[in-house]
């Protein structure tokens, strides 16, 4: 009996430990980013890092301003938002409210499979199809532009937007819709006037999480946005994002160099952005319940 009690106690402790391990891992990630990233500020001020207009990490002396990279991420994300939000929310409404039951299942499976396609495969297919199209349609010297990145990344945001927005619509109480229909509203009026407002905080969270995925996306964006670390003047020029910079340059950066520290500092920026997005989206998701 005592042995059993002891065994049970040990198991419970292990389970508890695994339970809090997620917190520990988040803490460790942040800690190690800080440990390697903050060393940068011995060389350069935080203001000079965040608002510096040029990123030439291997020139002498190295210029490590991330503004071009932040703007690169921003322009690609904005482009992806413009494309993915209307299409994603529209698709979510179609699946949740309009599609017949069987079509619904097929579409949901399809969207789930889209979410599963590895980003390097999307990047590859973007390189061989989308990039030449963009080049020809806009008569550009190169198709490796922010626009190509935006279009491809929209496809990475859409599965997230669709599935979370669809959940949000699904969890609106049936009585809301029935009430609207009983008052003589058409299905579309009930969707537009009742369902969408009722699900708005969930849809907002869906959009945020979708865009969070875009900001954090690395491989596809590195393969098709052209990787020019300059402040973008339009959406039709090559840009470089925060994520692509880390992925492309960490291989060459010497451990313990200014460049190495700077890439970790970029990692801190990304971590903070994704943390803010996820916490806010989580608040929206749990608001109504």
């Amino acid at each position: 009996m005592l042995v059993r009690k002891l065994k049970e106690l040990i198991i419970e402790k292990i389970i508890f430990l695994c339970g809090v391990l997620s917190i520990i891992f988040v803490g460790l990630i942040f800690l190690f980013l800080l440990k390697e990233g903050l060393a940068l500020f011995k060389f350069i001020s935080p203001g000079g890092f965040l608002f510096g207009k040029s990123w030439y990490p291997i020139s002498e002396p190295a210029q490590l301003g991330v503004l071009p990279l932040i703007l690169g991420s921003l322009i690609v994300t904005l482009g992806a938002a413009v494309i993915s939000i209307p299409i994603g929310v529209g698709c979510a409404v179609y699946i949740a409210e309009v599609a017949p039951a069987k079509t619904k299942e097929v579409l949901k499976t399809g969207i789930e499979l889209l979410a599963a396609i590895p980003s390097v495969v999307l990047g590859f297919i973007g390189m061989v199809t989308l990039v030449p199209w963009v080049k020809n349609i806009f008569h550009l010297p190169t198709g490796l532009t922010a626009l190509s990145g935006s279009i491809m990344l929209a496809f990475m945001a859409m599965p997230t937007i669709v599935s979370i927005a669809e959940d949000a619509l699904y969890s609106v109480p049936k009585s809301y819709k029935e009430g609207a229909l009983a008052l003589g509203a058409t299905r579309w009026q009930s969707i537009y006037r009742v369902m969408l407002p009722a699900a708005s905080s969930g849809i907002l969270a869906a959009v945020m999480l979708g865009l969070g995925r875009v900001i954090g996306e690395t491989m596809a964006v590195m393969m098709i946005t052209g990787n020019a670390a300059v402040i973008p003047q339009s959406i039709l020029v090559p840009v470089r994002t925060l994520t692509a910079t880390i992925a492309a340059e960490m291989g060459e950066a010497v451990v313990g160099s200014e460049h190495y520290f700077a890439l970790f500092a970029v990692g801190i920026v990304l971590f903070v952005i994704s943390f803010a997005i996820n916490v806010t989206a989580d608040l929206f998701l749990h608001k109504k319940r």
């Binding site: 389970i15 695994c18 339970g19 997620s22 990630i29 499979l113 495969v121 669709v162 690395t218």
Partner: protein, 282 residues
Amino acid sequence: MHNSQRTQKIAFLFLFLATLLIVVPVGLIVVIIIQKGLPAINWQFLTDIPRQGMRAGGIFPAIVGTMYLVAGAIVFALPIGLLAAIYLSEYSKDNFLNRLIKLAIVNLAGVPSVVYGLFGLALFVIFLKFGASILSGSLTLGIMILPIIITASREALESVPDSFREVSLSLGASKWQTIRHIVLPNAVPGILTGTILGLGRAAGETAPILFTVAAFYLPRLPHSIFDQAMALPYHLYVISTQVPNVDEKIRYGTALVLLVLVLFMNLVAIIIRYKFRKKKKW
């Protein structure tokens, strides 16, 4: 009245078009990759090492490398993820700690994959001195897929009706015995679904393995878990952007193998979930 009917028709048409705008390109992507990749697939391509600077030969070391990484990630993440899910579903009370854990999981799921790469580099490769190795890569991928496994397992555990637990407890079983013999067996399909989805994610990710394990060109199989390895997604990245004049067929073939591997795992997970829903006894 007539007018609002017409508005509805137009609105529904637009919603349908939005859906098509997602479904058609995705279908096209898959079709293009299959069509152009299939001619490259043969026994030699799947079982030979890359030759002539990856411009000929096969992708066997990359396939094996990915298998090792995925296996390592799951060996690490499944026990931890499952136990964490048990904690959240069976032990934790609705308090601040519980809220904090859930928030941490949400954040783990949202951390950009390249940041996992940085973290793996700083912690496993440099600080713990594992070097760029299968071990470092597996651990990094394991932490990355943890939220997927925890979330799916928790949902599966929570969907087991409380009456099952009550009956077991009233028969004198301890809490752990109840979990071990009653709750877990009934949650297996859901846990399996989450695990397979995690496998698929680990197999397809590139950024976390860039600096923790991936070898640019290593035309042999890894010797131990402290060895570097090639991996399918990184190999695809390398031959499509870093090596000039690679035959298109090889690129498409590699993309196809990766895509089939990942989509197959996801389909299996979806089928398990679907079958389980139909069979559910409660």
